[in-house]
Amino acid sequence: MQRRDLLKLLSFGTGALMFPGTSANAAVPVLKFRELYVRGDELSDLTKSLDGKIVQMTGYMAPPLKPEVRFFVLTKLPMSVCPFCESEAQWPDDLVVAYCDDPIDVVRYTDLIDVEGKLELGFWKDPETQFVSLIRITGATYVKR
């Protein structure tokens, strides 16, 4: 009993621990990578229903091209190589691009992060990097687990 309370306290202390399936803000819906698509690039009803809404996703930050950029690629499993440097054949189809308001603080690519922001759907090519995305999170903030 006592130890349990202590653990709880400790986890609040670090501020990074999240309960699975919940967000720091209970009102924000959680979207899992495996729920994004029905099959191939066909978006799920859940994904479509959350278009334009604030969502939370959990994943890994792929190493960015350069640290001063304002976006990063969020992946289901750690990706060691930068998405722009490697031949695309090795890249998973279900990546999500997170756009932040400020230059990003790079988190190691093997550390889980919870990302919160507005879900944006549809084919889009970044004019600056030519990077193509189908699902984006804009105004993204993130916290390391």
Partner: protein, 504 residues
């Protein structure tokens, strides 16, 4: 003594044994359920008789990265997924392939192997250098010129020369190390398409692995080729059928799929499950399937594939339907290529799901052939660093928590010695409120190697059934696998008979 053994080996002796056991002095534990089931196991062992006939067919299952902890964990995982007791659960090959040996996987130059020389050990009978395929110890890594005179002939080449049918299946790229060891000879496993060939390799006339597959001159070529790796066969100018914005990888302009189609007008080329399902094995003499640009999907993700992919079991079944039409028999390799990839990612759930898929494929193969005339071998090329640790209670979820460490944090039953699951210069994560059974969970690791968990150097298991399968016993060298397959099928002498013009 000799007569005694013989008697025990005959089928009738089982009944005698059972009587003898009953006639013995009553033991206090003799009605215990564990005692009784192990006694039954003894009787079935006594009834087993070595098969010394000629193997008409040989099927080699290679479960890439299938370490012994992976075997145990997959057995528990499969049972628990079905809602039965996991620990006493039995995977198809544990039941169907009674002969087991331990395989020493070290290579000519390395304590811990990669998939290239280990597959070569199985397909050609020699140990060689890490990173090389279908060549002997005489080769120098990444040196094309050194390939000359270092080639080793594979059992698939022998089989084709002897008039048998041959097939290769992999859930990885079909140009990846394991399936490549059936047909390729190369000083470097990464030369999968001409785009990755070095200047030295081009200058000295070394061919990339995809081109070697299509240009393969043994017999009339593979009857069955099923796997991933489509981009290595298509030119940069060709759009990919599954992803319109992606193209092939080849820079030499060759469209190897078109070349294959031109070579086999009795053949069927397929790239998705619908086309695959429509193939009539009765009418198809050559089948070529490339279901993904790179590796095929993990079994856990397969249902979501855009173009649709057959399972390893479905590919195995269709392959045997095509191959078994040959009265001379066939040699088939089935690789579950992505157990290894999931381990490299530190993701035990996907590794276990792919192992279960391989067990299902083995069951399909066993049911389709005459086990009396088919040598079936199932093994791994090398191990990985996953362990099963702690003192979890019986029926604890295999992907669950085993206990609590001195740091008061929970630890999982499965963990890795190294890999992406380790934090860099930070205490290990607190898993108190984490669902460690989630498909995407990465098991904790000790040494941070973010790019990839490493292979392991411990021995792996060989399971076998059929003609001469009983030669797989004890602790053996990995390259013995080739020698038993060649001996059981008598392929080397059958080739000789052909070339000297002798009658079959």
């Amino acid at each position: 003594m000799k007569r005694f053994t013989k008697l025990f080996l005959s089928g009738a002796s089982v009944a005698l044994m059972a009587q003898a056991a009953n006639a013995q002095q009553a033991l206090p534990q003799q009605t215990d359920s564990y005692f009784v089931s192990a006694q039954q196991e003894l009787f079935s062992k006594l009834a087993e008789q070595p098969n010394t006939g000629r193997a008409k067919n040989v099927i080699l299952f290679v479960l890439d990265g299938f370490s012994i902890p992976t075997l145990t964990a997959a057995r528990i995982y499969e049972g628990q997924s079905r809602g039965v007791d996991g620990e006493s659960n039995v995977l198809s090959f544990e039941k169907l392939l009674p002969y087991v040996a331990l395989s020493k996987t070290y290579t000519h130059d390395s304590q811990v192997a990669d998939s290239a020389p280990t597959a070569t050990a199985m397909t050609t009978g020699v140990k060689s250098l890490n990173g090389t395929i279908g060549v002997t110890q005489k080769v120098t890594l990444e040196n094309c010129a050194s390939q000359k005179g270092a080639e080793a002939e594979s059992i698939f080449e022998l089989a084709e020369k002897a008039g048998l049918s041959t097939g290769i299946i992999s859930t990885a790229r079909i140009t990846h190390a394991t399936p490549a060891a059936a047909y390729a000879h190369t000083a470097f496993r990464d030369w999968e398409s001409d785009a990755t060939l070095s200047e030295e390799a081009k200058q000295n006339g070394c061919k990339d692995i995809a081109a070697q597959l299509i240009d393969w001159s043994a017999g009339n070529g593979f009857e069955v080729v099923l796997g991933g790796g489509r981009s290595n066969f298509l030119p940069e100018s060709a759009a990919d059928p599954e992803a319109a914005d992606k193209t092939g990888a080849r820079k030499d302009g060759r469209n190897l799929v078109d070349e294959w189609k031109a070579k086999y007008n009795d053949g069927a080329y397929v790239w998705n499950k619908t086309e695959f399902d429509a193939v009539d094995a009765e009418k198809t003499e050559h089948l070529f399937g490339l279901f993904e640009r790179s590796h095929m999907q993990y079994e856990a993700d397969r249902a979501k594939d855009k173009g649709g992919e057959p399972s390893l079991a479905e590919m195995t079944g269709k392959a045997i339907d095509v191959l078994s039409k040959n009265k001379e028999g066939f040699v088939l390799m089935v690789e579950a290529g992505r157990i290894d990839h999931a381990h490299h990612a530190g993701n035990a759930a996907r590794a276990l799901a792919d192992t279960v898929a391989a067990a299902q494929a083995l069951q399909v193969a066993y049911d389709k052939v005459n086990p009396q005339e088919t040598l079936i071998v199932l093994t791994a090329d090398h191990s990985h660093t996953m362990t099963i640790n702690g003192y979890p209670k019986r029926n604890n979820p295999i992907l669950g928590i085993a206990g609590t460490g001195d740091d008061k944090k929970p630890y999982t039953t499965l963990s890795y010695a190294n890999g992406p699951g380790a934090k860099l210069d930070e205490p290990r994560p607190d898993l108190t409120n984490v669902d460690t059974t989630d498909l995407d969970f990465l098991q904790p690791a000790l040494v941070p190697l973010g790019e990839s968990e490493t292979h392991g150097g411990d021995d792996v298991a060989i399971f076998a059934a059929g003609p001469w399968a009983h030669l797989f016993r004890g602790v053996v060298e990995q390259n013995l696998i080739y020698h038993v397959m060649a001996y059981a099928s008598q392929l080397p002498s059958r080739v000789k008979a052909e070339t000297t013009g002798a009658v079959k």
